[in-house]
């Protein structure tokens, strides 16, 4: 475990890896927080249009400090900018885009992901103030739902499980998970290891995964730059 903690990818590197899979011309929603980083690693020259729940298509990065316009924010309520060709719309139209299957991809964070694609990312179920935002709409709306997450929790527990124990965000919705150790697809209610760090063995990711991690012939190295 300690060894894995030393060699595992940083969030920026997981975000970089997720960014490589986003296709030219895609419409993409990135969850608040960690997933937002993905936009920074969008490969040069690739056109991707980002959607935010609060009614913008085609927003760009943060403005210079002091240049914020608080009518121009993203779902995380951070100030953003707009690119040429952006559009504003109200919340019902925004979620028509989401629920209607118009987004090619949503990338979200996770507390837990189950081998059947169930996702838990909105409530730890431990009390406190619940807050769901747009996550439940996104997981049943976007054409493809991916997750970026550390492979294990801060206290060493598996986040990839047989069944989620925390309240669900959506059922059977996640099809790919980018973790700090591996890239894992979910297909036919199974975790399929697609890529792993060159420095971990085939067995190591399984030791920190709470469900069977199927490995096929096609597992390749998960290779990312230093960031």
């Amino acid at each position: 475990m300690e060894r894995l903690n030393e060699i595992k990818l940083k969030n920026a590197q997981i975000a970089w890896r997720a960014a490589q899979d986003i296709e030219e011309g895609s419409y993409v929603n990135l969850g608040i927080g960690f997933p937002e980083m993905i936009a920074q690693y969008q490969p040069e020259g690739r056109d991707v249009i980002y959607h935010t729940e609060n009614g913008i298509l085609g927003f760009g990065g943060a403005p210079t400090k002091g240049q914020e316009d608080w009518d121009l924010i993203n779902a995380g309520k951070k100030a953003v900018t707009i690119k040429p060709g952006s559009a504003f719309f109200h919340h019902a139209d925004s979620f028509a885009m989401v629920r209607g299957g118009h987004l090619d991809l949503a990338v979200l964070g996770a507390y837990q992901v189950a081998e059947n694609g169930d996702l838990a990312n909105w409530s730890t179920g431990k009390g406190g103030v619940p807050a769901v935002g747009g996550a439940m709409d996104l997981v049943h709306g976007a054409k493809r739902v991916a997750v970026v997450t550390d492979h294990i929790t801060k206290d060493g527990k598996a986040k990839l499980l047989n069944r989620c124990t925390m309240p669900l965000t959506g059922v059977e919705c996640v099809t790919r998970v980018y973790t700090s150790l591996a890239v894992i697809d979910i297909k036919d209610k199974q975790f399929l290891l697609r890529e792993k760090l060159a420095t971990v063995s085939f067995d190591e990711p399984q030791t920190v995964t709470g469900a069977k991690l199927s490995t096929g012939k096609h597992v390749i190295d998960l290779s990312v730059p230093d960031l």
Binding site: P84, G85, A87, M97, G101
Partner: protein, 239 residues
Amino acid sequence: MDKTVDNLAAAVSLIDDGSTVMIGGFGGSGAPIELIHALIDQRTKELTIVNNNAGNGDVGLAAMIREGMVTKLICSFPRSADPRAFTDLYLANKIELEIVPQGTLAERIRSGGAGIPAFYTPTGFGTEIANGKPVKEFDGKSYVEERWLKADFALIKAELGDPLGNLTFRMAARNFNPLMAMSAHHTIAQVSKVVPVGKINPEQIVTPGIFVQQIVEVLNPAQEEDLNQCKTYYPEVVN
């Protein structure tokens, strides 16, 4: 990303026999006449068409129906100044008709685009429109369950369009066009002018590009009403 297509024939070339095609417009206002005529040129068959009406005269949707390309029509009002094309086939049992109240038609199309598989409406309760549909009571009032309406393609008409597919509409030519853009799997918009990306004020975009797959410029588009006043017949009869 550039969704512009060079010409009308290319724009409609993906449309296959047997497709469901939504066609924008209310009567002639907002009807994408040039796209419809390109589809007529292509002789695509066995189409299910969704439109508010059933065409007028000898151009546009009426011509498409007259040419036998339409198997089924889903609309609210299949009457017009000159509805012969539809009426003749309908009375001869050669075209299927699904009549949908206009507001229900609009909402079913929007629901298709918004991922709402069904909704309840007071419209049609107690009438033959509700026959065979589930009815449910909410707060002591009865409502009819209506299903979403989706399509393989939408042919729509807009005013300005940019290469990302962002659109504006001219006056009441807006009508069903933005809704059909949302609902169809593949939306083809004819626009009266293609402008550069960034040229349309993002607050004034009515249909964001995410709902549009292809745009084709048609400068000075024809108005169905004008064509009919001139007794235009499409396709032109060549002696």
